[in-house]
């Protein structure tokens, strides 16, 4: 009675393991298919799941739209500036960080006003500014816009310059009391004093505002204006007022910028880089899979299965989490991460093999092997994570792209190696119990020989 009972339970365990593996296999194949091809969620194709896994010989056009590409792969221009604060502003006690924010905002606005809506402006380290503009190959047009700020001058009625752009804090479009478009600008305290003194002397006359030597406007002065808050009215259209305000603002980037780096990547070179690295990734993955099967047989096959799931999940993650751009070094990080992903499996399988060779049944060997390998696996991954985090702090631009994906893939690989491989291996060990399936026979005899030698000592 008891015996049959136990048998039934054993059989059930085996069957349930088979079902578990079959279900996961279906899930893997389905997720892989959707990842590669996308899927319509309703019959009319209104709701669609976009593909997120890149295919062989991929180009920019066939790249899955759900994963944003970095500038080095998409083509475009990026510029890095080093910002410094002038001595005058320092003496006036301005906050550098605040001015840096203003500068970045102005650059961003200027670019989007000119139609570069995909341009991004970001801070680089403490004093740097990085500007990225995709899909542009002629840096000159862009740099004219940012690189050499226009020179703003205020001229008195004799045509002498009495005030310069550096005294301007802000210029914005607004409306006057009659709801007509006007420009309001705010001077620094020093500028306000100079402007006040000059307007006091110029009542009834005109002053001129020049941008790069070209006259912007010549308003007439009705009264002395102190306080630095000035409203310029005239016969502007709304658009003109906007443009003038922008140009005035442009004439006075709050900080001095020095161009430190400029990179132009053509779209075709980006395509080459993209295609070849994705092909390298695919070949690398296939080789790793072969090595795993060659070295660890059934266990290796299960590790390959886990690796497929890891790749599906990693790319899904990159596609879903906003703000991740895949750069060339980023792809390198993923490929390296895949190589490292199976490291944990190797460490675990070697332990399992050891236990199996010591005569334990394979299910026990799997349990003990995982337990013994865990500390080495966790330690090894944590050190890589530490290095990637240091790199995130010290790296610039492209190096950070590498650090981000390396970090992501190490974390994801550790999770798949520990959770998914254990799941697969435990269930498989319930179905197929012959330990020889889980290791290479040649290796086995070599290892026993080594143990024999040791024992003989």
């Amino acid at each position: 009675m008891k015996v049959t009972n136990r048998r039934r339970i054993k059989l059930n365990k085996r069957t349930s393991s088979m079902i578990a593996l079959a279900v996961l296999l279906v899930v893997t194949v389905f997720a892989g298919y959707v990842g590669l091809n996308g899927m319509n969620l309703d019959s009319r194709g209104l709701y669609k799941m976009l593909p997120w896994i890149p295919q062989t010989n991929v180009t920019k056009d066939t790249w899955p739209a759900s994963i944003a590409l970095g500038l080095d792969l998409q083509g475009g221009v990026f510029v890095e500036y080093e910002a410094t604060m002038s001595d005058e502003l320092k003496e006036e006690g301005y906050n550098f960080d605040q001015l840096l924010d203003n500068t970045m905002e102005i650059i961003g606005r200027r670019l989007s006003d000119k139609g570069f809506t995909e341009a991004t402006v970001s801070q680089l380290g403490v004093t740097g500014i990085r500007v990225e503009i995709p899909d542009v190959t002629d840096p000159a047009a862009v740099l004219d816009l940012i690189g050499s700020p226009a020179k703003l001058e205020f001229l008195d009625y004799n045509g002498n310059v009495f005030l310069e752009g550096r005294y301007l804090k802000t210029a914005t479009r607004t409306v006057d009391e009659n709801s007509k478009p006007a420009i309001s600008f705010q001077l620094t305290s020093e500028g306000a004093q100079i402007f006040g003194d000059m307007t006091a002397k110029s009542i009834g006359k005109t002053i001129t505002i020049q941008l790069d030597g070209q006259e912007l406007m010549s308003p007439s002065v009705h009264e002395a204006i102190y306080g630095g808050s000035i409203l310029v009215t005239g016969s502007f259209t709304e658009e003109q007022a906007d443009n003038y305000a922008l140009q005035l603002q442009s004439g006075s980037l709050p900080l001095d910028l020095r161009q430190d780096r400029l990179d132009t990547v053509s779209a075709t070179l980006g395509d080459d880089a993209l295609g070849s690295s994705v092909n390298a990734a695919i070949i690398g993955i296939l080789l790793v899979m072969l090595i795993m099967v060659w070295r660890y047989r059934l266990s290796g096959l299960l590790a390959d299965w886990a690796l497929c799931l890891y790749i599906i999940l990693l790319f899904l993650f990159i596609a879903v989490v906003p703000g991740i751009q895949l750069t060339l070094p980023g792809i390198a990080g993923i490929i390296l991460g895949i190589g490292m992903a199976v490291d944990a499996n190797v460490v675990i399988f070697e332990r399992v093999k050891e236990e199996a060779l010591a005569g334990r049944p394979i299910l026990h060997a799997v349990r003990i092997g995982f337990k013994n390998a865990m500390s080495a696996v966790v330690d090894a991954n944590i050190t890589t994570i530490i290095a990637a985090i240091v790199l995130l702090f010290f790296g610039t631009g492209s190096v950070q792209g590498f650090a981000t994906t390396l970090l992501l893939s190490v974390v994801a690989s550790m999770i798949t190696a520990i959770i998914i491989t254990r799941f697969l291996l435990t269930h498989m060990a319930r179905i197929l119990k012959n330990p020889k399936l889980y290791m290479t026979p040649k290796k086995m005899s070599a290892r026993t020989a080594a143990t024999d030698v040791k024992e003989a000592k």
């Binding site: 080093e82 840096p139 000159a140 740099l143 020095r258 161009q259 430190d260 780096r261 400029l262 990179d263 132009t264 053509s266 779209a267 070179l269 080459d272 880089a273 070849s276 690295s277 092909n279 390298a280 990734a281 070949i283 690398g284 080789l287 790793v288 090595i291 795993m292 070295r295 060339l328 070094p329 390198a332 490929i335 390296l336 895949i338 190589g339 490292m340 199976v342 490291d343 190797v346 460490v347 070697e350 093999k353 500390s375 330690d379 944590i382 050190t383 890589t384 530490i386 290095a387 990637a388 240091v390 790199l391 702090f393 010290f394 790296g395 492209s398 190096v399 590498f402 080594a450 040791k454």
Partner: protein
């Protein structure tokens, strides 16, 4: 396979590599710094046909330049690379590029002007990069020391970090030895840090085994480096196979990748191989040496008392 203590031989091999690189550097054949470190302007054009380098050189001289380097790349030699080490402002670049393109177009009407790639790096960027590189390796090493010392013991931490610095120095040495093949750019920092994080993995696997074996009562009578021998031999399958899988992916990147990817993957390949070597041949024995030295020191102190 039983590994034996060959620390002295390994020390000689590693020193020879490093000293060769040092001597080459002293005699002016040091690291081939790329644009990220050295600064300047680098332009690349697809000429779409074969071209004479001398034509390009003449065109550059006509632009008033004397200091430049012209080279050819691409499978059929139709890609033109120009390096100009000293250039100050961005306006200069635009004027120069426009003039150069106009002149080259006369002789090579097929050249692709719109798909050029240009990189400009200011003269001060390199110094920041060097500072960051040294700082990041030092900080990462200290963090590794703390982590390993916390998980194992201080001597393991010291031995592991000696191994790390060895690997980084070997990578730097190979940047000198392979100066004709590879330039050093900012991606080298990423490569170094990757190795700092990765090559310690093998060391951890071995140290883990050493710790386990060290605790076995039957091994108590054995000298430390004998325990290290056994531990390394037992872990060899692990360390070789983990290195093999990672090496395979990075080698396929090197073989198929574009120039900037090669610049990045070659130092990593060197670092991974060096990491396997130092983990199996150096780190464990350094640990054994440090521990033996300490116990010997204690014993001699006791003897004096």
């Amino acid at each position: 396979m039983i590994i034996k203590n060959r620390l002295k031989l390994c020390a000689i091999i590693s020193s020879v590599i490093m000293l060769t690189a040092l001597v080459m550097t002293i005699f002016g054949y040091g690291i081939n710094f790329g644009i990220d470190f050295a600064g300047g302007l680098s332009i690349e054009y697809n000429m779409n046909s074969a071209f004479q380098q001398s034509d390009v050189e003449t065109a550059l001289s006509n632009q008033g330049l004397s200091d430049f380097k012209v080279s050819t790349s691409g499978a059929d030699g139709t890609i033109l690379n120009i390096r100009i080490p000293k250039l100050d402002s961005n306006e200069e670049i635009q004027v120069l590029q426009a003039g150069l393109e106009a002149e080259l177009l006369q002789s090579y009407p097929n050249m692709d002007v719109d798909t050029s790639t240009a990189s400009y790096v200011g003269p001060t960027a390199g110094a920041t990069l060097v500072k960051n590189a040294i700082l990041s390796v030092l900080i990462a090493s200290v963090l590794m020391l703390i982590y390993i010392a916390f998980r194992f013991d201080l001597y393991s931490g010291m031995a592991a970090v000696i191994g790390l610095l060895h690997d980084v120095l070997i990578m730097l040495s190979f940047m000198v030895l392979l100066r004709n093949v590879i330039q050093m750019n900012s991606s080298f920092i990423a490569a170094m840090l990757t190795i700092v994080g990765y090559s310690i993995n093998n060391t951890i696997v071995i140290f883990d085994r050493i710790r386990e074996n060290n605790a076995k009562p039957s091994y108590h009578s054995l000298p430390r480096d004998e325990i290290v021998n056994i531990s390394i031999s037992e872990s060899l399958g692990r360390t070789v196979n983990t290195t093999l899988t990672t090496l395979v992916t990075i080698v396929s990147l090197y073989v198929l990748g574009v120039a900037s990817i090669r610049e990045f993957s070659l130092p990593i390949i060197v670092g991974i191989v060096s990491g396997l070597y130092s983990a199996n041949m150096i780190n464990g024995y350094v640990w054994a040496m440090l521990v033996e030295h300490k116990t010997a020191h204690k014993k001699s102190k006791k003897a004096k008392k």
